[in-house]
Symmetry: C2
DNA sequence: CTGAATCCATCGGGATACTG
DNA sequence: CAGTATCCCGATGGATTCAG
């Protein structure tokens, strides 16, 4: 795999897209099961309504998340991963596993520097 | 793999750390071979001295990058990946491969939305 | 319940100039 | 060569309020 060539390419875009505060968290969470709006709002703990909506809309525009409205009373909206979004779960999990394996290494480096 | 539990954990930290504009680019670039300062500055095309230095320092504090100073005249500084940094290349490549495979999917979703 | 709208603080990040 | 020091701007993101 030509890493040097990949660097300038879409890899950076993907990281910038998912590198914001909540995107990757939402993808992982929606990877477990579909969620409703307030369901997500309660699950995430700390996200504002504004950022939840904005992040969901961005992921929807990227084709990673599907938004399904059920015309009930009161209205109910379900968010789920698209096939593209689900295909992202595998490489995302690889990085998640790395993070878990090495979190104390990073913490150690930080305290050593501090 | 317990995805739901991982979500709240260090995964977010990793993404935020590498999600800035240049970090992941530097890791991939340093994964190919060690580089000197101006070497990186020329290779990256668009990065300012300020951000190059700041990003390198941050990666160094995270224990991902090693900075080696050779006391020559004029001074020469080499940046390379630590073992921890190299261990990150594998999951990073997985995500890079995903980005390359699906870049047209994302582009298609974007134009469909726009 | 599912948002939209507005206001405002913080921060990332670029341009430029200067230094050992 | 390898940085540091300032200045400055736009984007990110939180709090709050309003609405269908």
């Amino acid at each position: 795999m030509p890493l040097a060539e990949l660097a300038a390419c879409p890899v950076g875009d993907v990281f910038r897209r998912l590198g914001d505060k909540w995107s990757m968290l939402l993808v992982i969470l929606l990877g477990t099961r579909p969620h409703r709006y307030n369901d997500l709002h309660r699950s995430i703990e700390g996200i504002s309504q504004r950022m939840l909506t904005r992040t969901l809309r961005a992921l929807e525009a990227d084709g990673l998340v599907r938004r399904t409205v059920f015309p009930t009373v009161p209205p109910s909206v379900e968010y789920s991963l698209t096939p593209l979004g689900r295909s992202l779960l595998a490489p995302l999990s690889a990085l998640a596993d790395w993070a878990v394996e090495h979190e104390q290494d990073i913490a150690a480096a930080r305290t050593a520097t501090a």
